[in-house]
């Protein structure tokens, strides 16, 4: 855990030295942009027309809360604006909980997604669920404000299971609300 602490602290100190508070938030949350639902040719982890961004083929899973609208089994659900991987909602977990028997990674990448119902932008933490092999359902890749490996904390290509006790095998990804962001479009 000391590695992780120093990673975060170093990243903050390093950047704080030469950036404004606005840029710091950008670094933490990724570029603060609204998250329109864009049909894509999905690549990366989400390799393909057959997978990421396609229809999951599952019946809708909604929260029932009109302020949190959409189907959590679909790649176009608002929280998934920077997700990369199998949706835990399809794997025995939920949009914010890991499937039984997996371990939620303590650190991960974060994005900022616009909630179309309340018009707020939320900081979303894409914690990986770890310790079982690839779930195999609902592969989804969206890259709003994703940045390359050069900036790990904004990169969704990393196997963030590296921080877990149960080893680094990746099962699925969650999209957990950490708070609202400063601005929204």
């Amino acid at each position: 855990m000391s590695d992780m602490d120093s990673f975060a602290e170093r990243a903050v100190r390093r950047v704080a030295r030469r950036t404004s508070r606005r840029s710091l938030l950008t670094l933490i949350g990724g570029a603060i942009t609204g998250a329109a639902v864009i049909p894509v040719l999905p690549v990366s982890r989400a390799v393909a027309s057959t997978h990421g961004g396609g229809k999951s083929g599952l019946p809708p899973q909604t929260t029932g809360n009109p302020q949190d609208p959409g189907d959590q089994t679909q790649c176009d659900y608002w929280r998934y604006c920077a997700i990369d991987g199998f949706l835990c909602s399809c794997c025995g977990g939920t949009a914010s909980a890991c499937p039984p028997g997996t371990e939620m990674s303590p650190i991960t990448w974060i994005g900022t997604c616009l909630n179309p119902a309340d018009g707020r932008s939320y900081i979303i933490s894409y914690n990986d669920c770890c310790g079982k092999s690839s779930c195999g359902r609902c592969l989804c890749n969206r890259n709003e404000s994703d940045r390359p490996m050069v900036r790990p904390q904004s990169n969704n290509d990393i196997n963030w299971c590296l921080g877990t006790e149960s080893g680094s095998v990746y099962n699925c990804s969650t999209a957990v609300i950490l708070g609202t962001a400063l601005e929204s479009k």
């Binding site: 855990m1 992780m4 602490d5 990673f7 975060a8 602290e9 903050v12 938030l25 933490i28 949350g29 999951s56 083929g57 599952l58 019946p59 809708p60 899973q61 809360n65 302020q67 949190d68 399809c90 794997c91 025995g92 977990g93 939920t94 914010s96 909980a97 890991c98 499937p99 039984p100 028997g101 997996t102 371990e103 939620m104 303590p106 650190i107 974060i110 909630n115 119902a117 309340d118 018009g119 707020r120 932008s121 939320y122 900081i123 933490s125 914690n127 669920c129 079982k132 092999s133 195999g136 359902r137 969650t174 957990v176 609300i177 950490l178 708070g179 609202t180 962001a181 400063l182 601005e183």
Partner: protein, 387 residues
């Protein structure tokens, strides 16, 4: 956990300036990290273990646990079942046993066979029993390679090197009690209070009675009962109490009474013989027969039956009453199926697995189609309903 606090603090700072939408004065609440789902220790009878042979990565097999009565959130979780492994749920304890094989370099290196013990509620491993000798039989999953006996306190594991043997394992003591050589015989069908039967290459069956230490107390071999050349029994029977009902390649139903220490042949009865343009109706698929709690049998049938068609899947399920030795219903399937399993509910569900890994679910009583659970696994050869 400093990292999380750091992120949390940053998020709080941001909240202050957030734009407020008139209709929702409060933003959505922050959510906890970590957060991991747990299951109940006792699974409902509508839950089914769907084994995924995972042909594109055989070392990385697994099983999905699925509520076939659910339209939403039907997929409950996964348990690894590595390298032609076999999954065996306890019916009396909150445990799942998996007999599997690992290599030190995943696809090569040192081999380690183990029985892994999983907790049903947490789906985390509770322990493992290492099996020496690299003997565990590896083949397209058959439930009868790994079974329980002695009130579910012992496991029976079939070994194939290609010499055949059966290991007797005390689950509580986490130790191997015995290994019984069974030349020319295959698989384990629990028999009597403490023992098993195996089916042999010469058509006979051998019953082994075990003593309280797991040693062979008695053994007996039947006369040939299995016409392997002309009409072999599929290896996975439907169990009705202690009676095992096997389908044969040509559409006969063959019963074995396994209630007592020595298996008793109940003989064969025919399902209707029906010719078709492509051949005749015959059982076809991988796990082709299952039973409901009332003792009715469900047999997956292929309309193009002939020599070599026995793994071609089926397009109908025939419902058979073994007491009356009669077919009582036909259930046409929405899609061709690989395997079938019936739940132990009082209103049973018929689950038909498809080659794309989806499950079609039917009301077993009426035959009415209920739902499809899309792409639950990759290669759904074997299913086991919760009991």
């Amino acid at each position: 956990m400093k990292v999380r606090r750091f992120l949390g603090a940053a998020a709080l700072a941001i909240v202050a300036g957030a734009a407020q939408a008139a209709s929702y004065p409060e933003p959505l609440a922050n959510e906890p990290i970590p957060n991991v789902v747990e299951l109940s220790a006792q699974y409902p009878a509508s839950w089914v273990y769907v084994h995924d042979l995972h042909f594109n990565s055989l070392p990385d097999g697994r099983a999905a646990i699925v509520d076939v009565a659910a339209d939403v959130r039907a997929f409950k979780g996964q348990v690894p079942v590595a390298q032609f492994g076999t999954l065996l749920p306890s019916t009396t304890r909150p445990e799942i046993y998996v007999a599997e094989t690992f290599f030190s370099r995943m696809t090569r290196g040192e081999r380690t066979d183990v029985i892994t013990i999983w907790d049903k509620a947490t789906l985390k491993p509770k322990g493992e029993i290492v099996l020496p000798g690299g003997k565990r039989g590896q083949f397209v999953t058959l439930r009868n390679s790994f079974q329980l006996t002695n009130g579910e306190k012992w496991a029976l594991l079939f070994n194939f090197t290609p010499a055949s043997s059966v290991s007797v394992i005390d689950i509580d003591a986490r130790k191997i009690l015995n290994e019984i050589d069974l030349p020319g015989c295959s698989l384990v069908y629990p028999t009597g209070p403490r023992g098993f039967t195996s089916l042999c290459a010469d058509g006979t069956m051998t019953s082994i009675e075990l003593d309280t230490a797991g040693k062979v107390a008695a053994s007996s071999t039947s006369k040939p009962i299995n016409d392997i050349d002309h009409d072999p029994m599929f290896m996975t029977p439907a169990m009705v109490g202690k009676t095992a009902w096997f389908a044969t390649f040509k559409g006969n139903i063959h019963g074995l009474d396994l209630a007592n220490a020595k298996a008793r042949d109940l003989g064969v009865f025919q399902m209707p013989k029906e010719k078709t343009a492509e051949g005749e109706w015959r059982p076809g698929g991988w796990q082709v027969i299952s039973a409901d709690a009332a003792g009715r049998l469900y047999v997956l049938m292929n309309p193009a039956g002939k020599e070599g068609s026995h793994k071609d899947g089926g397009s109908e399920v025939w419902v058979v009453d073994p007491a009356r030795k009669q077919r009582v219903a036909r259930i046409p399937l929405q899609n061709p199926a690989v395997s079938v399993e019936v739940t132990a509910q009082s209103a049973p569900l018929l689950v038909a697995s498809r080659s794309d890994g989806s499950l079609d679910v039917y009301d077993a009583t009426s035959g009415a189609f209920q739902r499809t659970l899309a792409q639950v696994v990759h290669d759904p050869m074997t299913m086991t309903a919760s009991r």
